[in-house]
Symmetry: D2
Subunit: 466 residues, 4 copies
Amino acid sequence: MCGIAAYYSRNEENAAASVVTELYAQQHRGQESGGIAASNGREITVRKAMGYIKEGISGEDLKRLSGRLAIGHVRYPTRGTSDLAMTQPYVIETLSGPIYAIASNGDIVNYEEVAGELRVKGVHFSSKNDGELLGRFIVYYHEREGMEIADAIRLLMRRIKGAYSAVFIARDHLYIFRDGWGFRPLTIGQTADGDVAAASESCAMDLMRCENMREVEPGEVVVVTPSKTYFLSAEDGLIKPVFPIRRHCVFELIYFARPDSSQFGEYVYDVRHKIGARLAAYDEFDADVVVPVPDSANFIAMGYASAKGIPFNMGLIRNHYVGRTFIRPDQNSRDEGVRQKFNPLKDFFNNKRVVLVDDSIVRGTTIRKLVRMVKAVGAREVYLRIGSPPVTHSCYYGIDTPDKETLIANLMNVDEICAYIGADSLKYLTIDDLAKCVKQSDRFCYACFNGNYPLPRTAEQRGSAC
Amino acid sequence: MCGIAAYYSRNEENAAASVVTELYAQQHRGQESGGIAASNGREITVRKAMGYIKEGISGEDLKRLSGRLAIGHVRYPTRGTSDLAMTQPYVIETLSGPIYAIASNGDIVNYEEVAGELRVKGVHFSSKNDGELLGRFIVYYHEREGMEIADAIRLLMRRIKGAYSAVFIARDHLYIFRDGWGFRPLTIGQTADGDVAAASESCAMDLMRCENMREVEPGEVVVVTPSKTYFLSAEDGLIKPVFPIRRHCVFELIYFARPDSSQFGEYVYDVRHKIGARLAAYDEFDADVVVPVPDSANFIAMGYASAKGIPFNMGLIRNHYVGRTFIRPDQNSRDEGVRQKFNPLKDFFNNKRVVLVDDSIVRGTTIRKLVRMVKAVGAREVYLRIGSPPVTHSCYYGIDTPDKETLIANLMNVDEICAYIGADSLKYLTIDDLAKCVKQSDRFCYACFNGNYPLPRTAEQRGSAC
Amino acid sequence: MCGIAAYYSRNEENAAASVVTELYAQQHRGQESGGIAASNGREITVRKAMGYIKEGISGEDLKRLSGRLAIGHVRYPTRGTSDLAMTQPYVIETLSGPIYAIASNGDIVNYEEVAGELRVKGVHFSSKNDGELLGRFIVYYHEREGMEIADAIRLLMRRIKGAYSAVFIARDHLYIFRDGWGFRPLTIGQTADGDVAAASESCAMDLMRCENMREVEPGEVVVVTPSKTYFLSAEDGLIKPVFPIRRHCVFELIYFARPDSSQFGEYVYDVRHKIGARLAAYDEFDADVVVPVPDSANFIAMGYASAKGIPFNMGLIRNHYVGRTFIRPDQNSRDEGVRQKFNPLKDFFNNKRVVLVDDSIVRGTTIRKLVRMVKAVGAREVYLRIGSPPVTHSCYYGIDTPDKETLIANLMNVDEICAYIGADSLKYLTIDDLAKCVKQSDRFCYACFNGNYPLPRTAEQRGSAC
Amino acid sequence: MCGIAAYYSRNEENAAASVVTELYAQQHRGQESGGIAASNGREITVRKAMGYIKEGISGEDLKRLSGRLAIGHVRYPTRGTSDLAMTQPYVIETLSGPIYAIASNGDIVNYEEVAGELRVKGVHFSSKNDGELLGRFIVYYHEREGMEIADAIRLLMRRIKGAYSAVFIARDHLYIFRDGWGFRPLTIGQTADGDVAAASESCAMDLMRCENMREVEPGEVVVVTPSKTYFLSAEDGLIKPVFPIRRHCVFELIYFARPDSSQFGEYVYDVRHKIGARLAAYDEFDADVVVPVPDSANFIAMGYASAKGIPFNMGLIRNHYVGRTFIRPDQNSRDEGVRQKFNPLKDFFNNKRVVLVDDSIVRGTTIRKLVRMVKAVGAREVYLRIGSPPVTHSCYYGIDTPDKETLIANLMNVDEICAYIGADSLKYLTIDDLAKCVKQSDRFCYACFNGNYPLPRTAEQRGSAC
């Protein structure tokens, strides 16, 4: 999943501090590690650290990360090992020095094909990370084939298939671009001082006090130079990207994005409210309370409760201090992880009929434990409502879903899932109703629900997603 | 504020793992640093680290922290420097080796008096931390005056005034005790296997699957030996503690404890619901939405909304990834910290009449920014409701309140505060109504609201609270 | 082997800096690790580090090691693991705080007996290190039995058998003492400013510009207080140490001490010169050159060459940068270590008759390689001369000799050793002639040559030598 | 000064272990820091560390430094800051990856000129280190101008003026080359297995068991490929280096090299013996003892003693454990450093007439203290003899001599120096006699003695020597 950020300051040499702030607002997109690369126009300085960005980047680091341009990245551990070598941004060094750096978010489906071609041309890769591929592609065509950088990015868009939202520094130029399908979000904005910011989520732009915020268009390249900012649309230029159709990730709206972000032209919280209302329309029963699995299902549950007129209440308390889970060997270790994250209120559920709302079901193991937990503290009935359709297919465009074989919706039908989970009833949102919760429903990717992949599925062709 | 934990395993040498789990559940009581001390009956091993307990204590550490008894502490930076030297547990070493360790929570008001007496007797202090005073007091009277440890603790209760909930290890014995006023919470429980656990908050005991949970009584000493557990009440023994009256901290219920904890015989969430309902009774107006300042005011706001029939909604999004705040020098630095923590939903507040609910007002700076923020995104009116009476006095028993001079309720009346904050109306809960939200209202301390201190105020006599 | 140092400054709070200098001069006695403990009169600060003392103790450390008294230690890895837990000085902490510290050099033969008695009395040991035993013995009898510290040291001398030269801090008092046999060296001196220094070797005192240097007498206790220095001889006081007879380690003079040190009333270089001259008297042949195995045999070889009138020359070059030996797997790994340490001059040995001089033979493996090496580069004949008698017995008093079974002089007679080593002739110094090289020959221990142990051999009773 | 090493193994992937051994043998050429770069033919791994090479490079490091080719460097802190950024080898990374690395020894006099030209062509330098200049020069002409690497090195020899002995890796090729003047030494050799080694000093080759050892010729390029080794002489190829004349550094023989090395066709120890004998011929007096300033003057003193028939003896003991010097503020700090390094034997110098031998005098401060020290311990007369002519000029080719203004031989005549130092007589070797100690005296540089610089003096044009 991961998140990216960029900042181009017009007057100050401390763009890195702004990027830290942007990444902090996007920490939910990746807590494993993070990094910043800053350019003073002549040379790039980089700093990466495991863990949270504010813990990893010190005031001393910020002083060293001097310069008007900076980019950054927070990483979520999907494929690839958990170490700094897999952490972006990547600096690409040539005889001209450390003048190029890239950070990206997504998942490339023809990694091996493109990397193989570049290897034949003498390009070396220090990792199998998607970000490094994007960066070396651009630098190769710029330095060795003499192409303008913006053209090299356009060529990249023709050649590299998959999801990628990216920010790229070359000396004192910042390039912001996004694949032609628009899988992952990417927002740009401008401050009153003329500074330019970009981030995966708009909530990061709020912290920068940006005005004129908008999404980077799929296939668009935004170029920020020391004197100006210009926009190359997918239609501009000689090398035109070829784009089948827009395919935004609907899961960003359901689960991944922060509720205060806007993505793909939608307010995230508002989509979730609508999902809740749609779900409420499925039910005619009476219940005592609507309880969300916090925090991702909060707005769906509030939407449900408000549509239905049943009281909303937070009967499950979430411990926000994430971290490694130590298992005490003398107990049922399977339940420990869930217990450490969620705890039910005492005497709250007693004899109540509870509408329990979650955003989605993947393997079903967590929600099963939660339903049991709620029943164990006295709930009379648990009606489970899910704010998305059954997840039946893996994602190849940047969401960390497991192999198809372990998706519970592939192994059982809804009744069986309900029985397995131990709920008294279970309802999912339909794809049609999900589509009705967004404005331009034909611009979204629903592949994880219906298998209609916008691009061929080539798991074995992929590198390490970012 | 801080939190403590203890565990005595009957069959396993890994009590430290359980203490980590208990501390993790209480991480909200202190994120600055934490530590664990484990005893194998002959020798105590200790490990302290800055930051979150799960990050600081590794699997390797846990292997070294072997033994059936362990105690732990999470620290909140109140007085004293932010370093490991101030982090508990304290191991007190004598010629008999590292066999004593202590962790405590509270604030001692006659620190200098007692420490001075011990210094005269040749006792050395490596810090001015309350926990070290408690520990060295016990060890002095045990080792040098030949007193039984339980008696030394009883003597401590006569001599040391203030708030302290503490856990103490001596070789293979665990002692759990609490000051006679019962200022700070302390819960004990037993597992099905006969293991004994103690923690500041009951939510930690849930993770341990404890049964028979109850509060340690004020003035009580619980002694856990390798073969049994026994309880010395305040009335037992020759050296009787002298206790004026019980004085539980009502602020634990309003703000500090986790909603899923029970304290002083109350469900925390339930007290907050009742507070919300009491507040609701003050108002007769119509409003569009009830919005809490998350997370501490969530249940108060839900209680208000439910009593009033106005929809509850989470219009302010909180970033849970705490950490150092970097200030970008080119912006209004005063607002940055609040902005980084809270962000309002867009188009949510448009033209709405908002009941904004918070748990308390101390200096007023944060709520002022939040009210402005909510108005800046379109709220028509903001009615601010506070789940506690005006805070007019500093706490000397373990809550980190600032000097009286900076408490806004000492500087202005309610109308002036309302104007300063920029709300359209402001109402506080009265002390009388607060008292009605708990069962035994005469057992609580309300000193921060009315200045009726159960013990003399002696700021200059205090050490470093824990 | 190891080395110790102490310093009591009359006017400055930086005794630790002087101790670093003293230890640096004694680095040859131990390179594995080192440490310093400094007392400001109220509290002791300690710092230990692996490797060389000047690398391990930084300027920052020295600032923290403030105070007028300091002691230090450099460690040679004999028995016991190679880590900081085995590194002295040991601080012994009691309720009175960290006010005691000790550093010692030697080997105690009844460790288990004495430690066992103290354990029964409730004393805890964190290691099996001799130094800790000495320290806890003193503190136990002082704190728990009410004995004056000097008396406790006198009792120690009656009870603890073996080799120990030691320096002990108690608050603002420094105690310097040595076992009654005088196995290991210990020198004290005074500067023009009245500062008092002590060290294993007198070369360290030269750096301190000490005057009035002399050995601490066996059984003597030197007490340095803030106002004066006084000397308790073995005959003073109520508790008189019982001393069989003086037994200085003759090996210190042959091999271990620096040539510029004085020990046991002898100039080390001078004893070695005499040894060389004695050896020369054994031979009547003509040879071309006298070559030492550097650096320990340099002065023996110079003594030989000068007595014989044969030119002295340094045909073997020693690499002084010690460190771990990496073995290249494609070569004869056995020879690598010796090769990395010694290299012969080219064309130097061609057709020459060489008197090769070494200080001693233990296992015989190194000298065998050196003889081969010298022959391989052209030496016609190699006459090996050894500045000590055959080593036939293990040392139990502080020299790291291997088990008796691996001492080559126990496995072969001199002719066989000569053949094994590949020399053309081999002569050892006789014990009688060795005795003639020192002034008071009956005050020395020759146990490693003749098995006449001054104390019973009790390998299994020993702790970890220091 | 510094030292370099290279190894190409024909059968094993552990060339780095051999380079560590070679560097260890050359540790006297630089103790500040060191590094190793190893190539597996596709990618270069690098590891640098402060301090001794054996301490800095662990067994774990060696595993990572896998590959058949490796180069290394030990650094002496001349110009430039003391940190790892100045430590070689330098890896030069391009889009082809980390496939180039270089280590060099010497001092380039037209650094700014050449670096400036490359900067204009877009080449970036991360340091002002000579080694980086050499490396980027080669890579630039190879990658951007399409030149063969050997040709790029030949071009380098035409363009870059000064002293440089260098080893360069490009993927699986090793290049070994040396400037046309032959200022600094560089030896190559081959093992019985066909492995190729190179090092600054031949003593390192002894450890590798090399046969067929010879110096790399000035202007020669040795190329080692996976299948063969070939030699490009200064006369080969299209791009011919232009060489004025050979100018070996005579100071390497006098002082810097290890006595067991061969350099410039001379045995180092033998040249020093001859120098001693030449000096002896100047004197007709009788003296009691010849004492060297150890270790650099040992062989000069032995040469003198043997020629003169006066006993040689090591009256000054040197502490080989170098390291930072802590100054005790209460003493004459100027003398501390010398005292910590050298200590005189007691009662050795009493009333003796001493010939004190040193290799050279630069500032005169150390020898002055040593003469005083020797007199203070009783020497009747001190005749100081110096194994080189007066040093009157700075070196620009790799020896760390100070500014001309601080060279004592520029400030005083010999009588004045003698008086300043406090010796009873002082004699220097003449340049003519020095020339007679080597075979091909016209091939040496004597600039530091006579100012005849083989290349223009351009201090301000230099980078940071290596």
